[in-house]
Structure formats: structure tokens, C-alpha cells
């Protein structure tokens, strides 16, 4: 029960879709994927957590680090979340107001800042 990643392009915005469980063991792989996208010169990325069944504080920490990096570069790291348990974890950690959270990839890629 590990984690898989798949990157697709949506009108120039990379969408990193994760599937599986993100914990202390698999979070480093999420970090690698985000660093790879940052090094490739992308300012904004979307992380699709629709198929993620579990995420803990280590995984959230990786997303927060990624958010800081992309925002410092003038971009953003947006999330797609539909699982109620993951929405709940974002709420209780206060991160739901830190991240731009969407329920579909289409909405996340269309969320252009004014």
C-alpha cells in the first residue's frame, strides 16, 4: 500500500496526481516529485489528492514546504481534494485556509489569480 504519482499537463499547468497513502515512508517521494516540477521551471502546480486515502503530518509538511517554494517563485501549489477525511485533516490543521483547495482538477487549473 504505497503511493503512485502521475504528472499530466493541463494548459501548461502540471497536475501531479497522487494515489495511495502519504506517510513518513512515502512523503519523501512526494517531495522529490515537487522538487522535480520546481526545477523544471513550473511556477504553479496542482497536486491532485483525489486518489489519496491517507495523509499524515509528514505528508502535509511536504505540501507546505512545496507551497512556500512555489509562492516564493511567484506561483502557487493548489490542491484537489474530495476525500472527506483529508478535507477534515486540512481543516483541523488550519491548512484549508492556507492552500487553494478545489474539488476538481478543472477548477484548480482555472483558479488564476486576478
Amino acid at each position: 500500500m504505497e503511493v503512485r504519482f502521475d504528472v499530466t499537463d493541463h494548459d501548461g499547468i502540471p497536475v501531479l496526481a497522487a494515489a495511495g497513502e502519504i506517510d513518513v515512508y512515502t512523503a519523501p517521494r512526494l517531495r522529490e516529485q515537487l522538487l522535480h516540477l520546481a526545477h523544471a521551471g513550473h511556477a504553479t502546480v496542482v497536486v491532485d489528492l483525489t486518489e489519496v486515502s491517507f495523509i499524515d503530518s509528514t505528508g502535509l509538511g511536504v505540501l507546505v514546504s512545496g507551497l512556500k517554494r512555489f509562492r516564493e517563485a511567484g506561483g502557487d501549489l493548489r490542491l484537489v481534494v474530495t476525500q472527506s477525511q483529508i478535507l477534515k485533516v486540512l481543516e483541523i490543521t488550519g491548512l484549508s485556509s492556507v492552500f487553494s483547495v478545489h474539488d476538481t482538477v478543472t477548477a484548480a487549473t482555472a483558479d488564476d489569480p486576478a
Partner: protein, 131 residues
């Protein structure tokens, strides 16, 4: 009703999922509802992750979990044997604290009593809580 299950696993990150699976199975047996089971999976993961952070580069430790449940509540203690206690990695500790505060009724750190680092948590069944 009162039962105890003990689980000992090598203190390796890739085996943490076993601690989560075990608490899910026990919580289901103890009649916790689906959301509470998910809460417990995450809470146990947070406790064990703290111990793994503390074991640092020492892979020789053993993570010992003791799950004790009654009709009203489940209590889990996690202990790391055979590894020196190092200062906790504080990077994600704030997030971890908020998660535990929200998901369980009580949790704590008994400190090291010579037997290794030791954390515990307690969660009451929703149906067992006073209205």
C-alpha cells in the same frame, strides 16, 4: 469487556502501515464508527512517526504497540525499544500536535523511563460519550 493486543514491529518507516491496519481492525471490532476508525489510523500514525523521528538513523529499534480496549474506549501506547532517544524532529510537530488534539480525547508523552521513548493516546467511542 476488556481486551489487549500487542504488536512489535521493527522501527522502520515502511512498516508503519501495519500499526495503522491493526488499529483499524481493532477499532472496528470495538464498534468505533468509520470516521472514528479513520481518526485512529491517523492518530496512531502520528504517535509512531514521532518515535521513528526520534530513533533517527538507528534502525535497530523495535516499535511496541499495546492496544487496550473496553466497551467505552481504546487506549494505545507506543514505545520504542532499543534506540537512543534523540530530540524530536520539530519540522512537522506543530501539525502533528493539532491533529492529535483534534482526533483523540487524551494523549501524552510519558518520557523515557529507561525503557525507551513512550507515547500514549485514548479515544472514547462516540456512542459511549455522554450527550
Amino acid at each position: 469487556m476488556s481486551d489487549v493486543v500487542e504488536l512489535a514491529i521493527p522501527a522502520k518507516a515502511e512498516l508503519l502501515s501495519l500499526a495503522r491496519m491493526t488499529v483499524a481492525a481493532i477499532a472496528a471490532r470495538a464498534d468505533f464508527d468509520f470516521e472514528e476508525i479513520e481518526d485512529l489510523r491517523l492518530a496512531i500514525d502520528e504517535l509512531c512517526s514521532r518515535l521513528l523521528h526520534q530513533s533517527g538513523s538507528d534502525p535497530a529499534g523495535t516499535l511496541r504497540l499495546r492496544y487496550h480496549w473496553t466497551a467505552e474506549e481504546l487506549e494505545v501506547t507506543c514505545q520504542l525499544d532499543g534506540a537512543e532517544r534523540a530530540p524530536a524532529d520539530v519540522e512537522d510537530r506543530d501539525l502533528s500536535d493539532r491533529i492529535l488534539e483534534a482526533l483523540v480525547d487524551a494523549h501524552g508523552d510519558e518520557g523515557s523511563d529507561g525503557a525507551g521513548a513512550h507515547y500514549w493516546l485514548r479515544k472514547r467511542r462516540r456512542m459511549a460519550k455522554p450527550a
